[in-house]
Assembly symmetry: C2
Homo-oligomer: 276 residues x 2
Amino acid sequence: MKIELAENYGFCFGVKRAIKIAEENTNAATYGPLIHNSKEIARLDKDYNVGLVEDFKTFQPGDKAIVRTHGIVKDELQQLKENGIEVVDATCPFVTKPQEIAQEMSEAGYDVVIFGDDSHPEIKGVKSYATNGAVVVTSVEELEDVKFNERIALIAQTTRKVEDYMSIANYLIPRYKEVRVFNTICNATFENQDAVRNLSKQADVMIVIGGKNSSNTKQLFNISRENCQESYHIEDESELNNGWFREKKHCGVTAGASTPDWIIQNVINSIKKSID
Amino acid sequence: MKIELAENYGFCFGVKRAIKIAEENTNAATYGPLIHNSKEIARLDKDYNVGLVEDFKTFQPGDKAIVRTHGIVKDELQQLKENGIEVVDATCPFVTKPQEIAQEMSEAGYDVVIFGDDSHPEIKGVKSYATNGAVVVTSVEELEDVKFNERIALIAQTTRKVEDYMSIANYLIPRYKEVRVFNTICNATFENQDAVRNLSKQADVMIVIGGKNSSNTKQLFNISRENCQESYHIEDESELNNGWFREKKHCGVTAGASTPDWIIQNVINSIKKSID
């Protein structure tokens, strides 16, 4: 039986990359939680001695600081470097991009508008790169009292819904000479859904891994079952049933956004064993 | 009695400017109709010897060619100059702007998309400035089979409705990395409407000049009457009635988009005489 992973599954590209970076940089500490998954953070601490520091002033010269996927504020990054701390950047490239755009547009004289949550680490970081400041909003109403110059650069938090982003763009475009709309939204969730849709059309059994309460995993499972009747939603390998794979030719595997790769690998190994 | 013209009325800025240029350049010919008003074109021919040439090859070295408000194709402009013809540019600055944007964006590697009518002189002109070509569309459907690169510059015909323009922007933005939306729509019609609204709130008698069948003039008249009961819609000074101005303190005047200034001036002069 062929076992095939969905083209996109589980952790997004940026999270996978950050974990790889953390594993390659033992005896370090992340500044802020590397990702939003405590099991993974505990594993990195236990297996790789990669700890967690909440205040960047805690770092001492010679320490190794891993920058979290969400990125950090520009000044803090600079201070870490100036203080002789070895900085390993695990900022997701999809977050680095809006940081660069914010800086470039601000320097080019555009008014920078960020659609996102002012208190979120990602947005604190992106905003800090807008040399001449940026206006952060979550709704059109918040723009109504703001008067910009002629040219606006519009940037979105990576995890926002594109429909909501468009409402901001629709408000600004008719009111200003030029609105440069940067599509900085990352479609990881939708990519996982597209991928399970494709895979479940080909497979004759589908394993969907993720928390039973996980909303995005349930969505993946529902999409899978539409195309492949023998779809199973499990949390880990202990729930596998050998009978599911009898006389099957093609087993598809996917996982929700909060499922670490090592749990997925454990599941795949168990499936392989059961068909030996 | 105070006689006050609306802040915006009649011919738009670009048309007024073009006529002034034509009047200042006697013994010339416009390449294509200078504006879409035959009375005005006949007047310019009669009073200023500014004729009309339909084929640019008709111009001979030493001739003076006036470029129409809608602009012309870049190559033809260049050929006129190369052929020793004196070129006087009456292109509306609101049309020159999208021409410049098309060239700049095309040279900067953007895919240029123009929302407008491919057969309209303005759009033929703007498109010709996009060094690497441009896609001209009037609807989202026309975009569905086109695949662009990552970065798009979006330009609109000056006379399009902003709501329609937004539907094009809304289609493109979620699909590409960057969409630079240039608000090249000219709001002259809406400016006339805003201006008559403001003026009719202050005046105690309103004169709205324009063709009885002119849709935009009727709109101006309706707005005027909402705020000033004594609003009158006339085509020229022959329809004025002295009684309208008796015991009035403030007479507002506006005109539809197809009404030349000289008709408006005749009306104002007649009102002045009637209150002497």
